[in-house]
């Protein structure tokens, strides 16, 4: 997947300047930078959720997204939260839930799960979609340190197993390092990418 961004502005204000980024299967990239710099905006453009920018985005890789919040369907049980959005079968969904440490929680509604479990469910959902590249927007924010560390190593394991690439947006360089991701730093106004 390749993005050749010229400019992105919100309400007449230039947020992102010229940015070139390309990621393929198996490659891992961490986009770092302070909050408010436009990391999430860049990720949304990469994900194809925001098409209102100047530039080109190419590539037909299968993408899956992990959001800042788990963003689950509260009215469907855990298993359906994987099968409905991804379209995968029950067996695949149960396997990914097991890998995410959620075996036995299939029939629970999201409200009946802890935040850590909900995040693991969101991660399992993303992998169940069978992505070539996983896009993650601060997926470990608002978790306690211990849970975050476990989630990072879980993400690493699942990436190894599936061979998917990763674009991780985070403010914490350690998370990127733990996942052996190439670090890119967003800085300046309008923001541009710098190699670390």
């Amino acid at each position: 997947m390749r993005l050749d961004l010229q400019a992105k502005s919100f309400a007449g204000k230039l947020i992102l300047g010229p940015i070139e980024i390309s990621v393929g299967r198996g490659e891992r990239v961490a986009i770092l930078g302070p909050s408010g710099i436009g990391k999430s905006t860049l990720l949304r453009i990469l994900a194809g959720l925001d098409r209102n920018f100047q530039g080109r985005r190419d590539g037909d890789e299968r993408l899956a997204m992990v959001f800042q919040e788990p963003v689950l369907l509260p009215w469907r049980d855990a298993l359906a939260n994987i099968t409905i959005p991804t379209g995968c079968d029950r067996k695949t969904a149960i396997e990914w839930m097991g890998r995410a440490g959620l075996a036995g929680h299939e029939a629970k509604f999201p409200r009946q799960m802890s935040l850590g479990q909900q995040r693991r469910l969101a991660l399992a959902r993303a992998f169940a979609a069978g992505p070539d590249i996983l896009l993650a927007d601060e997926p470990y924010a608002s978790l306690d340190a211990e849970t975050a560390t476990r989630m990072v190593s879980l993400t690493g394991e699942l990436l190894d197993r599936s061979g998917a690439g990763l674009i991780l947006v985070t403010h914490d360089p350690n998370e990127g390092a733990a996942l052996e991701a190439r670090a890119l730093r967003l800085s300046g106004t309008p923001a541009r990418l710098q190699k670390d």
């Binding site: 919040e69 369907l73 009215w75 959005p85």
Partner: protein, 257 residues
């Protein structure tokens, strides 16, 4: 859980209040000097029994119920679609809102009369007239819900490229369930009252038509017999169809069991 105990504790006062109403009715019927203006409850009950035995009750109540069901389904489907469109798109809302407001304020009787004149004295006109009275109410209720749809779920659905039908069924409609349930329950009672007027004015069967005949002969016993029977049918629908459905779609709101 709390809902169950609520309905159980509400059962006793509910029964007592119905008994009290029956008692007042009985006393009033005995005090009046013209029994035909207010018959006693047992006279009405006897008439209901007679109507049921002859089969007349089932046929006419069935016709009315069929009209209620058809116009209810039509009004809910169109109201849901319009409400969703108007809630999601500012432009559609701007264009359709004046029409909705006008329709909300046109008296039911005018819609019925015009429908009979323009479409003809037939079943289509009857069902259309009732639905037209209800559509704007459903639309407005659904629109409020559609304006408050969660953008994060919308984005999730786009990110996973969910098909439009799956999105509607699993992402949009569950969020609108409270508005749909409210519109359905408010709608069903409004609709059966309008159906009776429609039958009164231009049909040759149904509860409204029977009341029309009984009105010409000032037969209060008959009017009450038909009215109470149909109230009972509608209450049964609310109790045994709408409420259980509402409970089922709200199951996910319960916390850890």
């Amino acid at each position: 859980m709390s809902q169950d105990s609520n309905s159980r504790s509400g059962l006793w006062p509910g029964l007592m209040s119905i008994l009290a109403m029956l008692l007042i009715w009985t006393v009033a019927s005995q005090l009046t000097d013209r029994p035909q203006t207010l018959p006693a409850p047992w006279q009405v009950a006897a008439r209901i029994g007679h109507l049921a035995a002859t089969g007349e009750l089932w046929f006419n109540a069935g016709m009315t119920l069929m009209r209620v069901a058809a116009s209810f389904a039509l009004a809910m489907a169109i109201g849901l679609a319009l409400g969703l469109l108007m809630g999601r798109s500012r432009r559609v809302d701007d264009w359709l809102n004046p029409g909705i407001i006008i329709l909300l304020n046109v008296p039911a009787l005018v819609v019925i009369v015009l429908s009979y004149i323009w479409v003809g004295l037939n079943e289509t006109a009857a069902i259309l007239a009732v639905a037209l009275n209800k559509i704007p109410v459903v639309t407005v209720m659904i629109r409020e819900g559609a304006r408050a749809l969660r953008p994060d779920l919308d984005e999730m659905a786009s990110a996973f490229r969910m098909a439009p039908a799956a999105r509607l069924r699993h992402v949009v409609l569950p969020q609108l369930a409270p508005q749909i349930a409210a519109a359905a329950r408010a709608g069903i009672s409004l609709i059966w009252k309008i159906v009776l007027v429609v039958e009164f004015l231009g049909r040759s069967n149904g509860v409204g038509f029977k009341i029309h005949l009984l009105f010409s002969s000032f037969d209060v016993t008959g009017v009450l017999a038909w009215a109470l029977t149909f109230v009972a049918i509608m209450l049964a629908i609310d109790l045994f169809i709408l409420r259980p459905w509402e409970r089922r779609v709200n199951r996910w709101r319960q916390d850890a069991a």
